[in-house]
C-alpha cells in the first residue's frame, strides 16, 4: 500500500496545489514541498525493512503492491520497488523538492497550475520506476509527458512552443512504437500460453522466434533511446532544455532522461536477452558516436544552457555503452552515472538559471569574470562543471570509470573509444568555466551573490556529488540488489559467458 501512497500523494498534492493559489500565492509551493517530503517519509523506512525475498517473483524487493485494474485485458495494478527503483525514485523525489525551491522566485504567474504540473510529472515518473505491469508502465510513461509539455510550453523561454511540441512529438511518437512492442509481446505470450497478461514477471522468458523478438525489442529500444536520448534521436533535447524553465530543466535532465536508461536496464535486457545481444554492437556504436558528437557540439555552443544539454547527451552515451556491454561492473557504473548525472546536471541547470536571473542572459559571450561579482555562485558552478567532466573524487567519475572498466573486459575497442571521448568533455568543460567565470567582464553588471535559500539548495547537491564520489558503496549495494532481480536466468548466463 505504501507504493500506492507514493503515487497518490503527489497526484492529490497537484490537485490541491492548483486551486490553493487563490488562497495564497505561496500555498502551492508549500503544498508541493509537503507532498514530496511525505514521499520521502515513505521512502526512507523501506531501506530498513529489506523485505524477504520472493514477494513478486524472485529477488530482493523492498515493497510491493498488487491489485486488479482492467482484468478483462489482463492488466493489473502491479507495483514493486527494489534497490534500483528505490534509488531512482529517491532521485526523483529529491530533485523534485529542489525544483520546487528553485522555482520559488522564478515562477511568478499561474503558480498553482505550475506546481500541479510539476507534481503530476513527478508522480508519473515515480510510476514509471515502480510499475511492474507493462501496460501500467506505459500508462505512467505517457502520463509524465503531458505535464512536462505544459511546463515547457507555459513557463518556458522565448521559443517555448516549438520546443514543447518537438519534445511531445518525439517522445510520444517513440512511445507508440514501444506500445506496439508491448502489445505484440503480450499477444505472443497469449498465443503461447492462452493467457492474456501484461505482468512483467509472466512475460519474462516468453518464447518467440528470433525475428519477432528483434522487432519487439526494437520497438522498446526506440521508446527508451529517444528518451535517453541516443544519437541520432537526440535533437529534441537541446531545444527543450534550453527553453524550459529551470525547474523543468532540472526535472527533465535529472529524472526524465533516467527513465530511458532505466527502461533499457529493466525491460530490454531481461525481456529480450537474445535480441539485446544482437543489437548490442549497434547500440554501443550509437552510444560511442553520441559521446563524441555531442561533446564536439557542446564545445561550439555560446548558450550555456545548450552546452549543458549537449553534455547530457554525451554522458548518456556512456550509459548506453555500459548497459549494452552486459558486464556486471558496467551495469553498476551505468546506474551510478545516472544518479550522479542527475545530481550534477540538475545542479548545472540550476546554476545557469541563477546566472540568468542575475545577468538576464545565458550567452557565454555576455558572461566572463563572473567570479569577481558572484564568487560563491562561480565557485559552486565550477565544482559542478568539474563533477560533470568526471573529475575523480566526484560522483560522475565513479560511474564513468566503472563503465570503462566493465566494457574494457568485454570489448576493449569500445572502452578505448569511450575513454578518448573524455578528452573533448574536458575541453568543453574547462573552456566553459574559463568563458563564464574568469577573464574580463564582457558587459558591466551588478548582481548579488547567492542568498541563503540558494546556498542551501546548492550545498545539498554539492554534498550529494561529493559523497557519491568518495563513498559510493551504499549505491552499489542498493543497485546490486536491483540488478540481481532483473538478471533472470538468460541474462545471467550471458553475463558469465
Amino acid at each position: 500500500m505504501n507504493l500506492v501512497w507514493l503515487l497518490l500523494i503527489p497526484s492529490f498534492g497537484g490537485c490541491l496545489a492548483w486551486p490553493a493559489e487563490r488562497l495564497h500565492p505561496v500555498l502551492p509551493r508549500w503544498i508541493s514541498v509537503a507532498a514530496l517530503l511525505l514521499d520521502v517519509l515513505i521512502l526512507l523506512p523501506m531501506l530498513h525493512g529489506l523485505a524477504p525475498a520472493g514477494i513478486l517473483g524472485q529477488g530482493h524487493w523492498l515493497a510491493a503492491f498488487d491489485g486488479p485494474w482492467i482484468p478483462t485485458l489482463g492488466i493489473d495494478f502491479r507495483l514493486g520497488i527494489d534497490g534500483l527503483s528505490w534509488l531512482l525514485v529517491a532521485l526523483t523525489v529529491g530533485l523534485g523538492i529542489l525544483a520546487v525551491i528553485v522555482s520559488w522566485t522564478e515562477i511568478d504567474e499561474r503558480i498553482g497550475f505550475f506546481h500541479a504540473n510539476l507534481l503530476w510529472c513527478l508522480a508519473g515518473t515515480i510510476g514509471v520506476f515502480i510499475a511492474f505491469d507493462l501496460f501500467l508502465f506505459f500508462f505512467f510513461w505517457e502520463l509524465m509527458l503531458v505535464p512536462t509539455y505544459f511546463i515547457v510550453a507555459l513557463w518556458g523561454h522565448e521559443n517555448r512552443m516549438r520546443a514543447a511540441v518537438k519534445f511531445f512529438l518525439f517522445t510520444q511518437g517513440s512511445g507508440l512504437l514501444m506500445l506496439a512492442g508491448i502489445l505484440a509481446l503480450a499477444f505472443v505470450h497469449l498465443q503461447n500460453t492462452g493467457n492474456l497478461t501484461f505482468n512483467y514477471f509472466a512475460l519474462l522468458n516468453t518464447h518467440m522466434t528470433n525475428l519477432t523478438e528483434l522487432l519487439i525489442a526494437l520497438g522498446f529500444f526506440m521508446g527508451f533511446a529517444v528518451k535517453l536520448p541516443v544519437f541520432p534521436f537526440h535533437t529534441w533535447l537541446p531545444e527543450t532544455h534550453t527553453e524550459a524553465p529551470t525547474a523543468g530543466s532540472v526535472v527533465l535532465a535529472g529524472v526524465l532522461l533516467k527513465t530511458g536508461g532505466y527502461g533499457l536496464l529493466r525491460f530490454v535486457l531481461p525481456l529480450f536477452p537474445a535480441a539485446a545481444h544482437e543489437m548490442a554492437p549497434y547500440a554501443m556504436w550509437l552510444g560511442a558516436i553520441g559521446i563524441f558528437y555531442a561533446a564536439i557540439i557542446a564545445f561550439a555552443q555560446d548558450d550555456l544552457k545548450r552546452l549543458v544539454a549537449y553534455s547530457s547527451i554525451s554522458h548518456m552515451g556512456f550509459v548506453m555503452i555500459g548497459v549494452f556491454s552486459f558486464s556486471a561492473l558496467a551495469l553498476q557504473g551505468a546506474v551510478a552515472l545516472m544518479i550522479a548525472h542527475g545530481l550534477s546536471t540538475g545542479a548545472l541547470f540550476i546554476v545557469v538559471g541563477l546566472i540568468q536571473h542575475r545577468i538576464h542572459s545565458r550567452d557565454l559571450r555576455r558572461m566572463g569574470g563572473l567570479w569577481t561579482d558572484l564568487p560563491k555562485l562561480s565557485a559552486l558552478g565550477t565544482l559542478f562543471v568539474l563533477a560533470s567532466m568526471g573529475l575523480p573524487g566526484l560522483g560522475n567519475f565513479v560511474g564513468e570509470f566503472l563503465i570503462l572498466l566493465g566494457v574494457f573486459a568485454h570489448n576493449p575497442n569500445f572502452a578505448i573509444a569511450a575513454a578518448v571521448g573524455l578528452i573533448p568533455a574536458a575541453i568543453y568543460s574547462l573552456i566553459a568555466i574559463q568563458r563564464a567565470f574568469h577573464g574580463q567582464a564582457a558587459v558591466p553588471r551588478h548582481g548579488h551573490d547567492l542568498g541563503r535559500r540558494e546556498i542551501g539548495l546548492m550545498a545539498i547537491l554539492a554534498a550529494g556529488v561529493i559523497v557519491m564520489g568518495v563513498y559510493p558503496q551504499p549505491i552499489f549495494e542498493l543497485a546490486e540488489a536491483g540488478l540481481a532481480n532483473m538478471q533472470s536466468a538468460p541474462v545471467l548466463a550471458m553475463l558469465t559467458r
Binding site: 497550475f113 505544459f150 511540441v165 510520444q172 506496439a180 503480450a186 499477444f187
Partner: protein, 479 residues
C-alpha cells in the same frame, strides 16, 4: 414473415414516436423555449430509462422491421445519451437569442433521434431506409437552422443535395439486392454468412452502391469531401449531432452487416475496407494539419477516427467487437465534448460560431476550467492518458496486433503521431497568452446547465480513462 410484436422491447422507439406529435401540440399550446427544451430532454430521458426495461423483454423482435436485442439497445442508449447532450448544448446555444424562432430546433432533434434509433434497430432494408431518411431530413433542417447565416444555409443546401444523391445510391442498391435475393429482411440476407463477393452481379452492384452510401454518411475517404464545409457551416449543436449521432446510427447497421454474427468477412471485402481505413486515417490526419477553423479540424479528425474504427471493425471475434464499441463510446463522449465547448462559447444570434482557433487564444488564462476540460477532451481525441481516448486507442491497437494486421496497425501508429501535432496545436493556442483583448462572439456568462454538462463530460473522459473496467463490463453485457 410473421414475427412477434414485443412492445416492451420497442419502448424506446415508441416513446420517441409519441413524443414527436406531443411536442408539436405543445408548441401550439404554448411557445416557450424552456418548455420545449425541457420536454425534449424529458422525452429522451424517459426513452433512455426505458432501455433498461427493453433489455429485460422476453423477445427482441418488433414486427419483422425492427429488432431490439442487447446489441441494438446498446447503440440506442448511446444515441439517446448523445441526443440529451445535444439538447443541453442547443439550449445554451439559443438561450439568449429571443428574437429568432428557436423552438422548432428541438422538434428536429427529436425526429432526428427517432430516425437514428430506428436505423440502429433496423432489421429490414425498408426500415433501414426509413430511419436513415428521417434522420437525414431532420439534419438538413438543423444544419440550415440559423437562417441569417449564409454559411449555414449553404451547408444545409449542400447536405440536402449530397445526402439526396447518397440516399438515391442507397435505394438503388437496395433495389438491386432485392432483385438478386428476393428479400429485404436482414435475417434472410445475412443468414449463415456475411457480405461476400461471390454472388450475382445484381447483389454485388447493390452492395457497392449501399457501401458508397454508408461511406458517405460516415464521411470515409473517398466519400468525405462534404464533411468540412458542412461541419463548419452548421451551428455547433447540429454539427455535434451530425458528427456523433448520425455516424453511430449508420455504424450500427454497417457493423451488423460485416460480421456481427461472428462470421468471417470475405477477404476481398476486408481488403476494400482496409484500403478505405488507410485512406481515411491518412487523409483525415494530413488535411487536419492545415486547418484554422476548429470545426473543420474536427471534421477531418472525425474522418481519421472513423478510419481507426474500421481497423477494429476488421478484427473478428470478441476483441474486435469490444474495441469498436469502446472506441465508439470514447468518440461520442469526446466529440460531443469538443463541440460542446464550441457551442457553449458561441451564441445562436452571432454572425458566426466561436470556432476559429484564434478564438481560443488565451482560454487557459481567461477561463481556466473550461480550458482544462477542453484539454482533456483534446487529449482524449489524441489518445493520450489519462483520457479515455488512450484506452480506446489501446483497444484498437491491441485488436490490430492480435489479428496480425501489420500494415493497418503501422498506419494507425504513424497517423496518430501526425494527429498529435494538430491536437497539440489547439492546446498550444489555448495556452498562448492573450496579447490583446480579442472580441469573442460570446464571452458572456456560461449557464450552469452548460457547465454541468461539460464538467461531467470532462469527468467521464478522465474517469473512464483511469478506470475503464466498469465501462468494459457494461459494453460486454451489451455486445
Amino acid at each position: 414473415m410473421t414475427q412477434g410484436m414485443n412492445f416492451t422491447a420497442a419502448l424506446p422507439l415508441l416513446i420517441l414516436t409519441a413524443a414527436v406529435p406531443l411536442g408539436m401540440l405543445l408548441l401550439i399550446v404554448r411557445r416557450s423555449h424552456e418548455l420545449i427544451a425541457g420536454f425534449t430532454a424529458a422525452a429522451l430521458g424517459v426513452s433512455l430509462l426505458s432501455v433498461n426495461l427493453a433489455l429485460g423483454a422476453s423477445s427482441a423482435a418488433f414486427s419483422s422491421l425492427f429488432v431490439f436485442n442487447a446489441y441494438a439497445l446498446g447503440f440506442v442508449a448511446l444515441i439517446l445519451a448523445a441526443g440529451l447532450a445535444v439538447v443541453v448544448l442547443a439550449y445554451t446555444y439559443f438561450q439568449a437569442n429571443e428574437d429568432i424562432i428557436r423552438e422548432e430546433f428541438y422538434l428536429l432533434i427529436l425526429t432526428g433521434i427517432l430516425g437514428a434509433v430506428a436505423l440502429a434497430a433496423a432489421n429490414n432494408l425498408a426500415s433501414l431506409f426509413l430511419g436513415l431518411e428521417t434522420m437525414t431530413l431532420s439534419l438538413i433542417g438543423m444544419i440550415a437552422y440559423p437562417r441569417r447565416r449564409p454559411e449555414s444555409v449553404e451547408a444545409g443546401l449542400k447536405y440536402l443535395i449530397l445526402s439526396g444523391v447518397s440516399s438515391a445510391f442507397m435505394l438503388f442498391g437496395m433495389a438491386l439486392i432485392y432483385v438478386g435475393r428476393g428479400t429485404l429482411g436482414f435475417d434472410a440476407l445475412l443468414a449463415g454468412h456475411t457480405v461476400t463477393l461471390d454472388d450475382t452481379v445484381m447483389v454485388i452492384s447493390g452492395l457497392a452502391l449501399m457501401g458508397t452510401a454508408s461511406g458517405f454518411k460516415l464521411s470515409l475517404v473517398p466519400f468525405h469531401m462534404w464533411a468540412p464545409d458542412i461541419f463548419a457551416g452548421a451551428p455547433a449543436p447540429a454539427a455535434a449531432f451530425l458528427a456523433v449521432v448520425s455516424k453511430i446510427a449508420v455504424l450500427a447497421v454497417v457493423m451488423r452487416a460485416v460480421g456481427q454474427n461472428g462470421a468471417i468477412l470475405d477477404p476481398k471485402i476486408a481488403d476494400i475496407i482496409a484500403g478505405i481505413a488507410v485512406a481515411s486515417m491518412l487523409v483525415g490526419n494530413l488535411l487536419a494539419l492545415m486547418q484554422e477553423n476548429l470545426k473543420r479540424l474536427l471534421a477531418y479528425s472525425s474522418i481519421a477516427h472513423l478510419g481507426y474504427l474500421l481497423v477494429a471493425l476488421l478484427v473478428p471475434g470478441a476483441l474486435g467487437r469490444m474495441a469498436v464499441s469502446f472506441y465508439l463510446v470514447m468518440y461520442a463522449i469526446s466529440v460531443i465534448g469538443a463541440f460542446g465547448v464550441i457551442s457553449i462559447l458561441s451564441r445562436g444570434e452571432a454572425a458566426r460560431d466561436c470556432d476559429r482557433l484564434d478564438d481560443f487564444q488565451g482560454l487557459f488564462w481567461s477561463r481556466p476550467w473550461l480550458a482544462a476540460i477542453m484539454t482533456f477532451i483534446i487529449l482524449s481525441l489524441a489518445g493520450v492518458p489519462p483520457a479515455i481516448g488512450f484506452m480506446a486507442k489501446i483497444y484498437v491497437m491491441a485488436s490490430g496486433v492480435s489479428a496480425d494486421m501489420k500494415l493497418l496497425t503501422g498506419v494507425l501508429i504513424g497517423t496518430s503521431i501526425i494527429g498529435l501535432y494538430y491536437y497539440l496545436r489547439i492546446i498550444v493556442v489555448m495556452a498562448r497568452r492573450q496579447d490583446a483583448m480579442i472580441a469573442l462572439s460570446g464571452r458572456g456568462e456560461i449557464s450552469w446547465l452548460g457547465r454541468v454538462t461539460l464538467v461531467s463530460i470532462g469527468v467521464l473522459t478522465v474517469v473512464f480513462g483511469v478506470d475503464p473496467q466498469p465501462l468494459i463490463n457494461l459494453l460486454k453485457a451489451l455486445t
